[in-house]
C-alpha cells in the first residue's frame, strides 16, 4: 500500500506544473487523500544563496531549516498577499479604488521573510507600496481592502487610502519618498531609549536610496548605535527610471558606508528570513544599525497608472515570473521534499481566494465614512473644537 501511494504521489508531482495546474485522475485522487500527515516530511534543510557582505566578517548561515508548519504558513501568507494585490488591480480598473495604488506582487518573499525574522513587538515602517506589510503587521485583508475602497470599515476609517495604513508598531504607509527613513531611525531611538530590546525595520526602495535624508539618517543611527535595520527593496526601477540611470553606485548594501551591509536574494523567502534574523541579532546585541539590500522585482508597474512596459520589456517580466517567482519557489521546495501535497496547497489556494472574495465583498458594500467624521482626528487628546468649513457660515465639529 505504502509503495503504491509513493508511486502515485510521484506521478502526481511529476505532472504538476510550476503554476499548479495538474491533472488528477479520479481514482488517484481518492487514494491519495487517504495520506496522513505522518507521511509528510516535518522539517527539511535547504541551501540558500550566500549573501554579499559589506564590512562584515561573517554573514547569515548558508542553510535554512523549514518546518512543514512554517512552510504552509509562509505559502498561505504570500498567496494571500498575491491574491489581494491582484484583486486590488481589478477593483482599481473598475474605478472602485481611486487615486494612487502601488502593488506589491512579486515582492512577497520580502514582507513575509522579514516578519519571520522579527517579532510583532518589533517595529516596522515602509513607503507607499505597503499593503503587504499592513497584512504582516496585523491588519486583516478585509480592513485593508475596505481602506482601498474608502469605506468606514477601512483600517484608517477610509481617511488614509492606499498609502496611509497603520497598525500597532507599524508606522505606515508613507507617501513622500525617503521621509520614512529618518522616521524609522526615530522609532529605533525610542526603542533604545525605552530599553525593551525592540528594534525597528526601516524600508525604502532603490529610488529612495539616493535621498539625502537617508544618508543623514545613516550617520546619526550609526553615531548613536540605534537598533535599526535599514532595508532597501531593490526592484530595479524607481517609477520609470532604472537603477543605472539614477544611482552612481547600485551597490545599495554598501551605500551605508560605515554601516555593515548584506545583499540578499529577495525572491527567496528563506534567504530573507535568515538575513533578517542575522540583522536582528546584530541590532539587539547593541552593535548599532545594519543595512540589507533585498534584490526583488515587481510585476506591476510603479502604480496602477503606469503600465510598466515603457521602461522594461515584457520578456523581462515574464522571465522573472517563470524563473524566480517567490511563491513558486517555496511551493517547489515543499513539494519536492514531500513537505506538503499538491492538493493541500490547492486547498490553501481555494481558501485564500474565498478570503479575498469575502473581503472584496465587504470592501465594496461597506458604507462610506459618515460626514460627521470629516473633521475628526486633527488633534489627539484635545477638547472638541470648531473647524471652518468651505465658507464662514459652515462651522464643523472636530473631536479627538
Amino acid at each position: 500500500m505504502r509503495k503504491m501511494l509513493t508511486i502515485i504521489s510521484n506521478v502526481l508531482r511529476g505532472s504538476a506544473s510550476r503554476n499548479g495546474a495538474e491533472l488528477v485522475s479520479e481514482g488517484a485522487r481518492v487514494v491519495v487523500s487517504a495520506r496522513t500527515y505522518a507521511d509528510f516530511t516535518p522539517q527539511a534543510t535547504f541551501d540558500i544563496k550566500k549573501c554579499d557582505l559589506h564590512k562584515l566578517e561573517e554573514g547569515p548561515p548558508l542553510q535554512a531549516m523549514l518546518s512543514r508548519e512554517e512552510g504552509l504558513q509562509y505559502y498561505r501568507t504570500m498567496q494571500t498577499m498575491r491574491r489581494m494585490e491582484l484583486k486590488a488591480d481589478q477593483l482599481y480598473k473598475q474605478k472602485i479604488i481611486r487615486g494612487f495604488c502601488h502593488l506589491y506582487d512579486g515582492q512577497e518573499a520580502c514582507a513575509v521573510g522579514i516578519e519571520a525574522g522579527i517579532n510583532l513587538s518589533d517595529h516596522l515602517i515602509t513607503a507607499y507600496r505597503a499593503h503587504a506589510y499592513t497584512l504582516t503587521r496585523g491588519g486583516t485583508v478585509r480592513e485593508i481592502m475596505a481602506e482601498l475602497t474608502g469605506r468606514r470599515g477601512g483600517i484608517a476609517k477610509g481617511k488614509g487610502g492606499s498609502m496611509h495604513m497603520y497598525t500597532k508598531n507599524f508606522y505606515g504607509g508613507n507617501g513622500i519618498v525617503g521621509a520614512q527613513v529618518p522616521l524609522g531611525a526615530g522609532v529605533a531611538l525610542a526603542c533604545k531609549y525605552l530599553g525593551k530590546n525592540e528594534l525597528c525595520v526601516c524600508l525604502y526602495g532603490d529610488g529612495a536610496a539616493n535621498q539625502g535624508q537617508i544618508f543623514e539618517t545613516y550617520n546619526m543611527a550609526s553615531l548613536w548605535k540605534l537598533p535599526c535595520i535599514f532595508i532597501c527593496e531593490n526592484n530595479k526601477y524607481g517609477m520609470g527610471t532604472s537603477v543605472e540611470r539614477a544611482a552612481a553606485s547600485t551597490d545599495y548594501y554598501k551605500r551605508g558606508d560605515f554601516i555593515p551591509g548584506l545583499r540578499v536574494d529577495g525572491m527567496d523567502i528563506l534567504c530573507v528570513r535568515e538575513a533578517t534574523k542575522f540583522a536582528a541579532e546584530h541590532c539587539r546585541s547593541g552593535k548599532g544599525p545594519i543595512l540589507m539590500e533585498l534584490q526583488t522585482y515587481r510585476y506591476h508597474g510603479h502604480s496602477m497608472s503606469d503600465p510598466g512596459v515603457s521602461y522594461r520589456t515584457r520578456e523581462e517580466i515574464q522571465e522573472v515570473r517563470s524563473k524566480s517567482d517567490p511563491i513558486s519557489m517555496l511551493k517547489d521546495r515543499m513539494l519536492s521534499n514531500n513537505m506538503a501535497s499538491v492538493e493541500e496547497l490547492k486547498e490553501i489556494d481555494v481558501e485564500v481566494r474565498k478570503e479575498i472574495e469575502d473581503a472584496a465583498q465587504f470592501a465594496t458594500t461597506d458604507p462610506e465614512p459618515p460626514l460627521d467624521d470629516l473633521c475628526n482626528h486633527i488633534f489627539y487628546n484635545n477638547p472638541p473644537m470648531e473647524v471652518r468649513g468651505t465658507n464662514p457660515w459652515t462651522k464643523l465639529k472636530s473631536v479627538s
Partner: protein, 329 residues
C-alpha cells in the same frame, strides 16, 4: 481650435526650448517617461539628454542644482512631480532662489522656473493634495503664477521662462486634460501673458468673484446658475498670485460692491485672507456693502474616501450659497 492645458504647456516649453538654447528642463521622469503627467511628452525625443534631464528622486539636490545653473547663466525649468514634493526642496526655492538678487544687491539674478501640479487632485489623500499658493505667495523675491485655462498656461509659462526672476508656476492636475478654445493670436510663438495681471473672465454688476486655477471653472459654473436667478457675477481669474493684481479686484469692487474669494487651499493665512486684507487697507473698502467673504477648502488634511474628499473642497453650491448670503438674498 481646442487645445488642452497639457498640450498648451507642452507647446510653450517646446517653443521656448527652441528659442533659447540656455533653457533646459530637469525633474523626475521628465525625459524618457515623457513626464509623470505627460506634460513633457516628446521633448526628450526632440531635444535629447542635454536639454531634458531625468533626475533621481532627490528634490533638495536637484532643485539646488537647478538654482546653481540659473546663477551661472542657464535658464532652467525645474519640475516638481507635484508641489507636495517641493517641500523637500523649499529651502533652495526660498533661500537660494528668491532672496539672492536682493542679498547680492543686484549682482546675482536667478532666472529659474519651478513648475508642477499643485493642490488637490482626486483620491490622492493628505500628503499629495496640498495647495502651496499661499506659502510661496508669502515670499518677496518670488513671482508666483497660477494659470487656469490653456491660454493662461501657454502665455504665462512663456512669460515665466523669459522672466529673469525665480517664478513658481502652479499647475493643476485636474486641469491638464481640459480643452479650451485657442485663437490664432494666442497660438503665435511670441504670445505672452504679463505676470501680475488678472483677467476678467465674465463681466457682472452684482458681485465680484475672485479665484485662481481650477476654482475659476467653479466660479463660472456658479455664475451661470446665479444668472438664471438674475444675479450677475463678475468672475476674476487672478492668473498671478504674486505680485497680486489688487487694482483689478478694487476696480471690480467699486462697481459691484460685493466680494467673494474662492480658493482650493486652506483658509488660514491663505490667498483669500490676503485679498481681504488688501481690500480692507485700500480704496475699495468704502465701496463694500457687505463684509467680503472667503470660500476655501475645509481646514483639515485631505481625506481619501470620496464622500469625505468631495466635502473637503469648495463645491459650486458653496459658492452660490456664499454669494446669496453676501447679497442677503
Amino acid at each position: 481650435m481646442t487645445v488642452t492645458v497639457r498640450d498648451a504647456l507642452n507647446q510653450a516649453m517646446d517653443e521656448e526650448l527652441e528659442r533659447d538654447e540656455r533653457v533646459f528642463l530637469l525633474g523626475e521622469e521628465v525625459a524618457q517617461y515623457d513626464g509623470a503627467y505627460k506634460v513633457s511628452r516628446g521633448l526628450w525625443k526632440k531635444y535629447g539628454d542635454k536639454r531634458i534631464i531625468d533626475t533621481p528622486i532627490t528634490e533638495m539636490g536637484f532643485a539646488g542644482i537647478a538654482v546653481g545653473a540659473a546663477m551661472a547663466g542657464l535658464r532652467p525649468i525645474c519640475e516638481f512631480m507635484t508641489f507636495n514634493f517641493s517641500m523637500q526642496a523649499i529651502d533652495q526655492v526660498i533661500n537660494s532662489a528668491a532672496k539672492t538678487y536682493y542679498m547680492s544687491a543686484g549682482l546675482q539674478s536667478v532666472p529659474i522656473v519651478f513648475r508642477g501640479p499643485n493642490g488637490a487632485s482626486a483620491g490622492v489623500a493628505a500628503q499629495h493634495s496640498q495647495c502651496f499658493a499661499a506659502w510661496y505667495g508669502h515670499c518677496p523675491g518670488l513671482k508666483v503664477v497660477s494659470p487656469w485655462s490653456a491660454e493662461d498656461a501657454r502665455g504665462l509659462l512663456k512669460s515665466a521662462i523669459r522672466d529673469d526672476n525665480p517664478v513658481v508656476f502652479l499647475e493643476n492636475e485636474l486641469m491638464y486634460g481640459v480643452p479650451f478654445e485657442m485663437s490664432e493670436e494666442v497660438q503665435s510663438k511670441d504670445f505672452l501673458i504679463p505676470i501680475g495681471k488678472a483677467k476678467i473672465e465674465r463681466q457682472g454688476n452684482h458681485i465680484t468673484l475672485v479665484s485662481h486655477s481650477r476654482m475659476v471653472s467653479l466660479c463660472l459654473d456658479a455664475a451661470a446658475v446665479l444668472a438664471k436667478e438674475g444675479i450677475e457675477c463678475e468672475v476674476i481669474n487672478m492668473r498671478t498670485i504674486r505680485p497680486l493684481d489688487a487694482e483689478a479686484i478694487e476696480t471690480s469692487i467699486m462697481k459691484t460692491n460685493h466680494l467673494v474669494t474662492v480658493e482650493g487651499g486652506w483658509p488660514q493665512f491663505g490667498i483669500g485672507a490676503e485679498i481681504l486684507a488688501w481690500i480692507m487697507e485700500g480704496p475699495a473698502f468704502n465701496y463694500l456693502d457687505a463684509p467680503a467673504v472667503r470660500v476655501t477648502g475645509v481646514d483639515i488634511p485631505m481625506p481619501y474616501a470620496k464622500i469625505l474628499e468631495d466635502n473637503s473642497i469648495p463645491q459650486i453650491k458653496d459658492i452660490i450659497f456664499s454669494v446669496k448670503k453676501t447679497l442677503n438674498v
